[in-house]
């Protein structure tokens, strides 16, 4: 449903105003109604109170007056037997008691005197003549002066009045007083008066009953009182006795009238009283019906009723002035008495409400117009903007702050929008221009596949197709119409796989396997397609970018060829590099050096052959610590200086140093090669072996030098002395010198020979020439060589060798055995023995003592042993004695004539034969030297 702004502003406003006005009127009406009810009820209650109060006062006066008269008579103040005095007293009393209607006295002897006031300002005195029994009624003035005789009734017996129920005896029977309704004829027979008389018996001063006193009130006075009350305009009040008789009423009705006029005169009140239900007044009847209760006369009964369209509210209130009377006072008031004022207020309210409504409607329409007008001007401007930006009508200024702000914002927005639209048109123009200049063909298709846009490049590619054809082509005709083929075939490209069609399905597509037949040639195409969605996710466009990739295909082919060739070359180079790398790695691995590439600070960058040297540091932290951290301080400091010098000078630096590792001293040589300004290559080599060789060489040279110089010194000294004449006179000394020179010459010759032998055997250039040698022959030749020595030393030689053949160099073996035998003889005491023995070990079983032999030799060994009973060799020398010039005692060479090279020569001979030599010795008991030789040459040696 659509609704105008004016209606939206006015209708709710009017509805509110009408609603509020109606509500106010309704509430006002309700309030008036309630006020009327409250006022009515209040008036009823107040009237009832006033009536009952007034009645109470009304009934009090007779009682008080009767008792006053009784007291006056009893006390003797008034002589009841003097009727004239009583009359004067009564006249005086009634004048001073206006509420009392009449005063009466009746005596036992039937005196009867009554003074009443049937009319205002006039007294009625009735007295009985004892003699005649007549009742004389005299009208008198206020002073009791008789004015006229009103009437005379004969035969009046006060004790028998009324005859149906005489009050005299009843009164006497009630010494405390008695109320009785009575009919008074004080106004004449035609105007009887209902009267309530209070009777009170009296006694003489001797307390003898003498008569009855009474004081009475006319109930028509109560009716007058009720009528005097202002009970609204239509309200009324009435009094009902317990029997339902209407005693008095504020209405016009006369409640006390002769019901049966044709019957004889009766003084019984019930013959005169009117039943309230028979009242002529319908309001009285209805009120009596609702309010008067015979069963509960003592309860206050409120009631309401509607009669002839008028609402009445009333209340029946019990009135019991004494135990003998049970009356009810009924008050009923019409609410219409108060409705008039309320209705005028309601009409005033309605008038005001109507005026307010009219004013509000006018104001609402004016306000709506005031608000709507500028907004409607915005609407018109908006319609103008949305309608095509022709001329935007000016918006209307308004003093309403919010609407004015809205208007200004709108104007600003409109101007921006116009600018934006202009910019958009410019951009569209620019975009179209841009797209047309693009070297790539661009086409835009709607969801049916029809072309919406095609740029210049696209038109060039699709030159054979008219724009009409293109715009009418549907998606499923694309491949056929545009002659699109699967690249390299004559097969039309599957339409559903075309990027355009895939784009229309919502996919981003790419294809470069499409060829287009232009009629002259086939062109390979590369096509990118993206879908464009609307807010609902539906494809609205498929944007197609495509281009001729002939050149690219050619370039790709060239590139592929080039890359293939390049790959082949690279593979070749890589193989070569790998070979080089392998070679380099092999070279590095083959190098006995540690190679490290280091930064200036000494942090290793690369390390090869770490195991080539003794690395002191933690190998797991090798790249985290500097090289200097892993060296002793002194070496590290020297290394640092070398590195700095290498980097400063560009010259290779060299450092030699010693390291102690696990208690052993190692020698290392480091060469520091500068590589860049901040990098050096460190080549570290363990030269411990070289140092050892050099040391041994130096030592050997030193020993040889010493050993050669000693005999030379003796020779040189002896010959030098002989060359002078100092021993001319001492021929023995001269001869001694000559012998000394000769002996040292011999020693020198032996020494030179042994040195040459050792060097020859050590060099490895001399291989033993093996030949079958009978072992006993070898032993014999050896013994022959030392026989002279043994004889001179008084040593007996014992030989025990098996008759077996040994494959060996006989000269070498004989030399070795001769050396051992010679040593044994030299170090044996005269008279002792030297044994030369030989034995063959079990075939295939290596003797435990043969150290250098294979574990499971296939050939047996021959073991020579030379034992003596000499001084023995200390255990710490057992290994050393086979080294050059390391005799047990250096002086042995002089004393025993040895060169210190004998055992060294033996060891080299045995080594050259693949055997082993060792010694067992007990100090003081002797030594046994063993030579173990393989019986036959091994196949390896043969080869």
């Amino acid at each position: 449903m659509k609704i105008s702004l004016r209606a939206l502003l006015i209708v709710p406003f009017l509805l509110q105003v009408v609603g509020i006005t109606g509500l106010v009127v309704y509430l006002s009406y309700r309030s008036n109604q309630q006020t009327v009810v409250a006022m009515t009820e209040h008036m009823v209650a107040e009237t009832a109170d006033r009536i009952t109060q007034q009645l109470a006062d009304y009934f009090q006066a007779p009682v008080a007056l009767a008792h006053q008269h009784q007291a006056a008579i009893t006390s003797g103040l008034v002589d009841w037997q003097d009727m004239a005095a009583v009359e004067a007293y009564f006249v005086h009393q009634i004048v001073y008691h206006p509420n009392v209607s009449g005063i009466m006295i009746t005596t036992e002897d039937k005196h009867f005197l009554a003074v009443g006031r049937p009319e205002t300002g006039q007294l009625l005195i009735r007295r009985r003549n004892l003699n005649t029994g007549e009742l004389q009624s005299i009208i008198a003035d206020q002073a009791g002066t008789p004015l006229a005789v009103k009437e005379v009734l004969p035969n009046y017996d006060p004790h028998q009045t009324p005859p149906e129920q005489p009050w005299y005896e009843l009164a006497k029977a009630n010494p405390d007083g008695l109320w009785l309704p009575t009919v008074s004829l004080a106004r004449g027979i035609e105007q009887p008066i209902l009267m309530m008389a209070y009777f009170l018996p009296f006694t003489d001063p001797q307390d003898r009953p003498q008569g009855v006193l009474s004081a009475s009130i006319y109930l028509d006075q109560a009716g007058d009182f009720l009528r005097r009350l202002t009970i609204g305009q239509t309200g009324q009040a009435f009094i009902v006795d317990a029997q339902g008789h209407l005693l008095a009423t504020s209405g016009a009705e006369v409640p006390f009238q002769r019901s049966q006029p044709q019957q004889p005169l009766s003084l019984q009140p019930q013959d005169w009283l009117l039943k309230v239900q028979t009242s002529q007044d319908p309001v009285t009847r209805m009120a009596a019906q609702l309010g008067v209760s015979a069963t509960l006369p003592q309860a206050t009964t409120p009631f309401k009723f509607r009669l002839n369209g008028t609402r009445y509210s009333g209340k029946a209130v019990p009135f019991t002035p004494n135990d003998q009377l049970q009356w009810q006072v009924v008050v009923v008031i019409s609410e219409s008495d108060f409705t008039a004022a309320a209705t005028s207020g309601l009409i005033r309210t309605l008038l005001l409400g109507g005026l307010a409504l009219l004013g509000s409607i006018g104001f609402g329409i004016w306000t709506a117009e005031y608000i709507a007008k500028p907004i409607l001007s915005l609407q018109q401007a908006t319609q103008a903007v949305t309608g095509g930006l022709a001329v935007v009508p000016p918006t209307q200024a308004t003093p309403i702050l919010e609407v004015e702000a809205l208007r200004q914002c709108f104007d600003q927005m409109t101007s921006q929008l116009v600018a934006s639209f202009q910019a958009l048109r410019d951009r569209e123009t620019t975009l179209a221009s841009f797209l047309n200049r693009m070297p790539v063909a661009i086409s835009v298709h709607d969801p049916t596949g029809q072309v919406l846009f095609l740029n210049q490049k696209g038109k060039q590619l699709l030159v054979q197709h008219s724009p009409q054809t293109m715009s009418e082509t549907s998606a499923d005709q694309l491949a056929e119409i545009y002659q699109l083929y699967v690249a390299g075939t004559d097969q039309l490209y599957p339409t559903d796989q075309l990027p355009v069609v895939r784009g229309l399905r919502g996919e981003s597509a790419y294809a470069d396997d499409i060829e287009i037949d232009t009629g002259r040639q086939r062109l390979p195409l590369e096509i990118h397609t993206i879908p464009v969605f609307d807010a609902a996710g539906q494809v609205v466009y498929s944007i197609n970018a495509f281009q001729d990739i002939t050149e690219r295909r050619r370039a790709e082919q060239l590139q592929a060829n080039y890359e293939r060739e390049l790959e082949q070359q690279v593979a070749k180079q890589m193989a070569s590099l790998a070979e080089n790398e392998i070679t380099k790695q092999a070279l590095i691995n083959a190098m006995p050096d540690l190679l490290m590439r280091l930064g200036r600070e000494g942090i290793p960058l690369e390390i090869y052959n770490l195991d080539a040297v003794h690395w002191l540091g933690d190998k797991s932290q090798i790249f985290h610590k500097t090289m200097y951290d892993n060296l002793p301080q002194a070496v590290a400091e020297e290394r640092r200086r070398h590195v700095e010098r290498a980097l400063a000078t560009g010259m290779i630096q060299r450092q030699e140093y010693e390291l102690e590792v696990n208690g052993q001293i190692y020698s290392e040589e480091a060469r520091i090669v500068p590589v860049t300004q901040d990098e050096v290559l460190m080549v570290v080599r363990d030269i411990s072996d070289r140092r050892k060789v050099e040391r041994l060489k130096d030592e050997f040279i030193s020993i040889v030098s010493h050993e050669l110089r000693t005999p030379l010194t003796a020779i040189r000294g002896a010959l030098g002395i002989l060359d002078t004449d100092v021993l001319r006179d001492r021929p023995d000394k001269a001869h001694y010198m000559l012998q000394m020179a000769l002996a040292n010459t011999e020693r020198l010759i032996r020494l030179v020979n042994d040195i040459l032998d050792v060097e020859r055997l050590t060099s490895g250039k001399v291989s033993p020439v093996r030949e079958p040698c009978p072992v006993n022959h070898l032993a014999q030749l050896a013994v022959n060589g030392v026989e002279t020595l043994a004889l001179s030393a008084h040593i007996s030689l014992k030989v025990d060798v098996p008759a077996v053949t040994l494959w060996a160099d006989p000269d070498a073996i004989i030399q070795a055995l001769t050396n051992l035998l010679s040593n044994a003889i030299k170090f044996s005491d005269p008279g002792s023995r030297v044994w030369l023995k030989a034995e063959v070990t079990g075939e295939g079983i290596k003797p435990a003592a043969v150290k250098g032999a294979p574990d499971n030799p296939s050939e047996p060994y021959l073991v020579f042993s030379v034992a003596d009973q000499g001084r023995g060799i200390p255990a710490d020398r057992l290994e050393l004695i086979f080294e050059r010039f390391l005799q047990v005692d250096a002086s042995d060479s002089r004393e025993k004539g040895g060169t210190g090279l004998g055992l060294a020569i033996c060891k080299r001979i045995v080594d050259n034969h693949g055997g082993d030599i060792w010694v067992e010795s007990v100090l003081g008991e002797g030594s046994t030297f063993y030579i173990a030789l393989p019986m036959h040459p091994s196949r390896t040696e043969e080869s």
């Binding site: 030193s702 010493h706 000294g717 100092v726 002089r894």
Partner: protein, 126 residues
């Protein structure tokens, strides 16, 4: 006054040659000792002007003998000349650090050995 020279060398032939050469050509008295221990013993007992000391001796080499001579107040003032066949440069360096009066290498010229000693010990030559 005739100089008294103690010759300590384990080689008998060398001792004989040295003593004969010094006595014959320099006229000094000599006495030989065949080992280091014997040399130390004789050095303490005699009044020596100089000691000729061999280096390579089996029981105690000449360096050790020299150190013991230096440690003994009785002998530490006696000038010691080493008489050795060790002629390598490192041997010379080692001897130079010992504090000996001089070194005479073997073989020596028997005629001039006394003169060599006198030069080393700054004795007046004959």
């Amino acid at each position: 006054m005739t100089k008294r020279i103690l010759v300590i060398d384990d080689e008998l032939d060398i001792r004989e040659i040295v003593c004969l050469s010094i006595e014959a050509f320099s006229g000094w008295d000599t006495e030989g000792a065949a080992s280091g221990w014997q040399g130390l013993d004789k050095a303490r007992q005699g009044d020596w002007d100089a000691i000729l000391l061999d280096i390579s001796m089996p029981d105690m080499d000449g360096v050790e003998v020299f150190e013991k001579l230096q440690q003994n107040p009785q002998t530490q003032s006696i000038p010691v000349i080493l008489l050795t066949a060790k002629v390598l440069p490192r041997d010379r360096d080692r001897f130079a650090k010992l504090g000996v009066a001089g070194v005479i290498t073997k073989p020596f010229d028997p005629i001039n050995i006394g003169r060599q000693m006198a030069n080393l010990l700054s004795w007046p030559t004959l």
